[in-house]
């Protein structure tokens, strides 16, 4: 059991860092602008992240499994640890980083090391979402911005009433965003452990089955929740105060857009519905909440006429997006070499 926990620790660490960083994408502005108390945000975020991870985490995780099925616990440990280390390095270098890109880069690194050919169809599907995700969030944000502007102008809502509705909106959308974050990003945290899961399916009173994957996702969800409670407050304050200079309403639009994108890329129900009507489906892929938020903020900037937009910052963010998977793949390759040849653990079968 101790060995299992040790090998899962890298995933748990990744989960913790995801909770510490990405919860800010959902509740950052609301907390920093004092629209919502941190404790309220942390409780809502934690509960819904866990629900999202356990209930809807399987879709995006399955796609990640197709990219590379890391089939030993030691291999999965190394892949997750390398991804986490890349996130740490990039954060230290103050470059924006995506856990999704980091884990994808790490899996490709494992494929290289194990001599397994990377499924290019799946790989290109995932890479395409790195472009589609921020673009889609940008589009949603622009549409919602114009709709909100028209509504605010015509509704003649009293300032206090508008404030209370925005507050309620931030809580409801924050819960939805947390659910989507859990559903989509749990694949980053625990996805690589699925093929080598040490758990067995549990039957709860003969009514429902708690699968080994769901058990893994529950642990990952709890790790994210711990990250939210222990470290996200500072990140939320930073994100809310320095990156965004948004009003509560535009913040609500940003969170809604990003949450919708995360949901679209995680919802198996929507995927099946589109398929049943013969419509093109949205791939179930773990996408970056940070990318979605950046896309949505750019959308707001463009909708406002493109004034005060820091193009240099956008360029810097783009560099981070390109560098992350590459660095992660290299670190994973080197780490796997050490795990196999120095620590004498099989990293693939």
């Amino acid at each position: 059991m101790l060995t299992v926990l040790f090998f899962l620790s890298s995933g748990i660490f990744l989960g913790w860092s995801l909770g510490a960083n990405d919860a800010a994408n959902v509740f950052g502005t609301a907390v920093a602008s004092r629209m919502i108390k941190f404790t309220t945000a942390a409780v809502i975020c934690s509960v819904f992240v866990i629900i999202g991870a356990v209930v809807s985490g399987a879709g995006a995780s399955a796609t990640l499994g197709k990219l590379g099925s890391v089939n030993t616990l030691a291999g999965a440990f190394t892949v997750a640890m390398s991804a986490a280390f890349t996130v740490f390095l990039m954060t230290r270098a103050t470059l924006p980083v995506s856990t999704s890109q980091s884990i994808v880069g790490a899996i490709v690194g494992w494929n290289f090391f194990a001599g397994i050919e990377t499924d290019m169809a799946v790989f290109s599907k995932i890479v395409s979402t790195w472009v589609i995700c921020p673009v889609l969030a940008m589009f949603f944000a622009m549409v919602m911005f114009f709709a909100a502007k028209t509504y605010v102008r015509n509704s003649r809502l009293h300032l206090f009433r508008q404030d209370s509705r925005t507050r309620i909106g931030l809580i409801v959308i924050g819960a939805f965003g947390s659910y989507s974050l859990g559903a989509n990003n749990i694949a980053n945290v625990m996805g690589v452990f699925v093929p080598s899961s040490p758990f067995r399916d549990l039957n709860v009173a003969g009514l429902l089955t708690f699968t080994s994957t769901q058990q893994l996702f529950l642990i990952g969800g709890i790790a994210i929740a711990v990250g939210v409670f222990t470290y996200s407050r500072r990140v939320m304050e930073t994100v809310g105060n320095s990156i965004f200079t948004l009003s509560p309403i535009t913040a609500l639009i940003v969170v809604t857009s990003a949450s919708l994108v995360l949901f679209l890329f995680a919802s198996r129900g929507l995927h099946d519905l589109l398929m049943s009507y013969g419509l093109p489906t949205i791939p179930l892929v773990p996408v970056s909440s940070s990318q979605a938020v950046v896309g949505a903020v750019i959308g707001i900037g463009l909708a406002k006429g493109g004034r005060n937009m820091h193009l240099a910052t956008v360029g810097r963010i783009s560099i981070g997006w390109v560098l992350t998977p590459v660095i992660s793949a290299i670190i994973t390759f080197i780490s796997l070499y050490f795990m196999q040849n120095v620590f004498m653990n099989a990293v693939y079968q």
Binding site: M35, F145, H158, L159, F160, R161, I168, T250
Partner: protein, 216 residues
């Protein structure tokens, strides 16, 4: 949820009531000036008492709004602006009351031939404050029309200035006023009256900035 909406409705009522007191102070002012010019000092004193009570009630409401704003962390983005706006309006009531108090203490003798100008001035002052209250009210409910009301405030403030200038010219050019002290006193009263619309104008300028900050 019901409690939140209950609190919000109460806040809306308090702000509305506060604005009503600002408007009322200007209406009392106009009536008081008219009564002073008609030498009806008994009724003038009643008006003075009324404006004092209006100010006290406005102060009470303003403190209540401030406490709720900060205790319930309402409108965090524009809380400072709203508070500044309410404080500026309090200054407006204060200047209005002081102008009437000066009439009560100094009892200036206003010659018949400039009484219509003084009356005219008080009417324009009331209109200035009236439109300012409309502008502030629109800031809370419909920011698209704030500029329309602000333009009216500026228009009436300009009219007050014109009447003020007329009074000064007449006071210092006529030979019907005997002493320099009387001339200076009348100029002083005209300036103090015009100060009310000047304060209204400065609130209006602030409001224009606050409207930009409220845009999405």
């Amino acid at each position: 949820m019901i409690t939140i909406f209950g609190k919000i409705a109460k806040m809306e009522r308090d702000v509305k009531s506060y604005l009503y007191h600002v408007q009322r102070s200007a209406l009392i002012y106009e009536e008081a000036i008219q009564e002073y010019l008609n030498d009806d000092m008994a009724r003038f004193d009643i008006r003075l008492d009324e404006i004092g009570k209006t100010e006290t009630e406005a102060i009470r409401l303003r403190r209540k709004i401030r406490d709720k704003l900060y205790q319930h962390m309402l409108i965090p983005e524009v809380r400072g602006d709203v508070w500044e706006l309410l404080e500026s309006l309090a200054k407006l009531i204060d200047v209005t009351k002081k102008s009437l108090e000066n009439y009560s203490f100094e009892k200036p003798v206003i010659p018949e031939f400039i009484k219509p100008d003084f009356m005219n001035m008080s009417e324009y002052i009331t209109k200035t404050v009236d439109e300012l209250v409309n502008a502030v009210s629109a800031y809370f409910t419909n920011i698209t029309v704030v500029t329309d009301y602000s333009n009216k405030v500026l228009f009436y403030e300009h009219e007050v200035d014109k009447v003020e200038d007329t009074i000064k010219k007449v006071v210092f050019s006529t030979d019907k006023i005997e002493t320099l002290a009387e001339r200076i006193q009348l100029r002083y009263f005209a300036e103090k009256m015009a100060l009310i619309s000047d304060v209204a104008e400065s609130v209006c300028e602030k409001l224009s900035v606050f409207v930009i900050r409220r845009e999405l």
